[in-house]
């Protein structure tokens, strides 16, 4: 049972990881404290839900649509609002994005009401059984997609021209601007990318969890926990952080009881903030 719990934890953790990865770009790299991250995950869930119910589109196919729509939404939000205050204090980042989150939540409630919506997939409650260990198929697909997204993201940030520009801005935006990088456009792109990944996370969550307007609230804090745990500015760190939180949550649920998974997550978070503020794989923070 211990091994099974670990496996369940890793499968759940992959979902957490992809929730965290989007924020890793926005907060970890671009230093935009986005308190609306969870709400963008919620938007991704509604996009997927709508495409499924209206067009019968398989949720794993609509991940692409989620990515594109959330990318555009993210860039628009950046250009219209965040851009104006991006050089101001963290406090203003937090308040502004909290306001954006409130707008998104309630817009969703105006359109979809507060009903908890789910999609019924034939495979979301079936397991592969390998050597006595059960692996849920919906989770497994999500795990694979999350890994692919993580790899693509890593490649994009490390190997492409835009990725290098993003990293340059995160280290020193004045110097980056001097060396000919278009700071505003690149930051907007990076923000859009982070939100797009949040949208994909929403898509992957829908087959296993209902969506309602307030579902995003819990994901914002969770995403920050994962980014801080993994280490600022490290996409790989967020992946590891997500997996770790997933395993901790499952072990706590199994050995102590369901409600302890939240208790332990928050305690681990506070301990990391206090004793290892640079996270597991991050650069140390000044």
């Amino acid at each position: 049972m211990f091994l099974q719990t670990i496996i369940n934890g890793l499968l759940l953790g992959a979902l957490y990881a992809i929730v965290g990865m989007g924020l890793s770009i926005v907060f970890g790299t671009m230093r935009i404290v986005n308190f609306a991250h969870g709400q963008f995950v919620m938007v991704g869930m509604y996009i997927t839900y709508t495409l499924f119910t209206v067009f019968g589109l398989d949720p794993y196919v609509s991940a692409i649509a989620s990515f594109i729509l959330c990318f555009l939404l993210g860039m628009a939000v950046y250009r219209l609002a965040i851009h104006r205050i991006v050089r101001q204090s963290d406090m203003n980042h937090i308040l502004l994005t909290a306001g954006v989150g409130l707008m998104l939540t309630n817009l969703a409630q105006m359109v979809y009401n507060t009903n908890q919506l789910t999609i019924n997939l034939s495979y979301s409650h079936h397991d592969l059984v390998i050597g006595g260990l059960r692996i849920n198929i919906a989770y497994l697909i999500s795990f694979v997609i999350a890994s692919v997204v993580a790899a693509l993201l890593f490649w994009f940030i490390m190997k492409t021209e835009t990725g290098r520009a993003i990293r340059a801005i995160s280290q020193n935006d004045a110097a980056a601007a001097l060396s000919g990088i278009h700071v505003t456009r690149t930051t907007m792109l990076a923000f859009g990318l982070g939100i797009a990944v949040a949208g994909v996370a929403g898509t992957l969550l829908l087959p296993i969890h209902y969506v309602d307007p307030s579902v995003g609230d819990a994901f914002s804090l969770l995403a920050f926990i994962i980014v801080v745990l993994g280490g600022m500015g490290s996409i790989l760190g967020s992946a590891v952080g997500g997996l770790l939180i997933g395993v901790i949550a499952q072990l706590a649920s199994y050995y102590l009881g369901q409600s302890y998974s939240d208790v332990l997550t928050y305690i681990v978070f506070l301990l990391v903030l206090l004793f290892k503020p640079s996270g597991l794989l991050g650069r140390s923070r000044v």
């Binding site: 049972m1 099974q4 719990t5 369940n8 759940l12 979902l15 409630q109 009401n113 507060t114 009903n115 908890q116 789910t118 019924n120 409650h125 079936h126 397991d127 059960r134 849920n136 969550l205 296993i208 969890h209 209902y210 307030s214 579902v215 819990a218 499952q250 649920s253 199994y254 009881g257 369901q258 409600s259 998974s261 939240d262």
Partner: protein, 412 residues
């Protein structure tokens, strides 16, 4: 700097525009019932305005909508039959936004702006506690249609009258049924961690002890949790004969599907109504819903006169399949009518006394309130059989026989 000004102007204009739009909309609000401030004199003229508190928005809005459908059907019938005391009845719905704080404020508003002498609602137990407390300070009777938590009628107030059976009654009915079956000894309780689930858990802990069932596991979860398998594995290790769930809709479906997934077997999957007795449960949970037993308040097949007609009317008017939440609201308005007519006037104290001595038959069964304001409503237990709810307990209400629950491995 130069291009800042237009943006600021634009922002101000947008906001002003939004408020203006909101203002324009006000004109339509009369369609909902009595509009804002004009409804002052509740007893005046030839209309009688009654105040309803329910959850139109927020987490409980699904159930608030069901309640509203029940009230609306009753309102149509009553007005068609000549109203109350010869006056046409109007309902004003105040939204508690699924919060106790707002529900208490609604009582103030009903009393101040509508001179309410009687309050109907709210939906949830959390809100009901606050409403009962508040109504008591004004000495205005409150008819509670749906809130099941035991403590709603335990505040010491003389002004609360509850139609529905309580979480205690649910637990007792399940224990009675299990005792009649005779082959259950151990029990696990799995409940959501908000007001409804926690009240149901407390009630079952009390009755299980009374009936001699050993509670081997007691698990709480949040409906926001992504996954319940770890918790269900804990239950599985204790091998309980009976599992008692207290769940809302989506979590009930997820719990049963995941129980099937991990082969969590029990002789009886039982539940405190709600998620396990909403009309969509058998379809949403599919095969995993089969054989589950749920304590509930009402089924369209009930023998009380008007039950089936009510079901058809709601379905015709709103296209929904009514559950007991609709029915309880429907019956509540009839109870209000009977009480006001018996009192002979729209007066809080007289209505309260009339309610205390009321005895009447409704489509929800006979109504009579005891000294704490509780109506002794019989609880039924339904079982999902071939995708349909069949009443299996008590024997005098049963429309079918209880089927034993086969292990998952032997189901097709």
């Amino acid at each position: 700097m130069r291009n800042r000004r237009p943006t600021r102007l634009l922002a101000t204009l947008t906001l002003a525009g939004l408020f203006a739009l909101a203002g324009c909309g006000t004109g339509n609000s009369g369609a909902q019932g009595a509009s804002g401030n004009s409804g002052g004199g509740s007893g005046s003229g030839d209309t009688l305005t009654l105040g309803v508190i329910t959850s139109i928005t927020g987490a409980d809005s699904e159930f608030g909508k069901a309640q509203k459908e029940g009230y609306e059907v009753a309102l149509d019938e009553i007005n068609a039959a000549g109203g109350i005391l010869g006056k046409k009845v109007q309902l004003v719905y105040l939204d508690d936004k699924s919060s106790a704080q707002e529900a208490a404020k609604d009582v103030d508003q009903l009393v101040s702006q509508y001179h309410a002498q009687l309050i109907l609602g709210p939906y949830s137990s959390g809100s009901a506690l606050a409403v009962v407390k508040k109504a008591d300070t004004y000495k205005i009777p409150d008819i509670v249609p749906t809130a099941t938590a035991a403590n709603v009628t335990q505040t010491g107030s003389k002004y609360v009258f509850r139609l529905c059976a309580t979480s205690d009654d649910y637990a007792k009915a399940i224990c009675d049924l299990l005792k009649q079956q005779g082959d259950a000894k151990t029990m696990a309780i799995v409940h959501e961690d908000q007001n409804f689930g926690t009240s149901a858990e407390k009630a079952m802990l009390k009755y299980a002890q009374q009936y001699g069932f050993q509670v081997v596991d007691d698990e709480s979860y949040s409906t926001k949790d992504l996954d319940y398998k770890a918790m269900l594995q804990r239950v599985k290790q204790k091998h309980p004969d009976v599992i008692y769930f207290a769940s809302y809709s989506k979590d009930a479906v997820a719990l049963m599907k995941q129980a099937q997934e991990i082969d969590l077997d029990a002789k009886y999957f039982t539940a405190a109504g709600t998620g396990f007795s909403v009309a969509t449960f058998p379809q949403d949970a599919g095969k995993a819903a089969e054989y589950t037993l749920a304590a509930g308040q009402w089924d369209p097949s009930a023998k009380w006169q008007g039950s089936k007609e009510f079901y058809d009317k709601v379905h015709q008017k709103f296209g929904d399949y009514p559950s007991y939440h609709d029915m309880e609201a429907y019956a509540a308005l009839y109870v209000a009518k009977a009480a006001i007519e018996k009192a002979g006037a729209y007066d809080a104290q007289k209505i309260r006394d009339a309610l205390a001595n009321l005895q009447m038959d409704t489509a929800f069964g006979p109504i009579k309130f005891d000294s704490t304001g509780q109506n002794a409503h019989p609880v039924i237990v339904t079982q999902v059989q071939n995708g349909k709810f069949v009443t299996v307990y008590p024997p005098d209400a049963a429309s079918g026989k209880l089927l034993p629950t086969p292990p998952w491995s032997q189901r097709k």
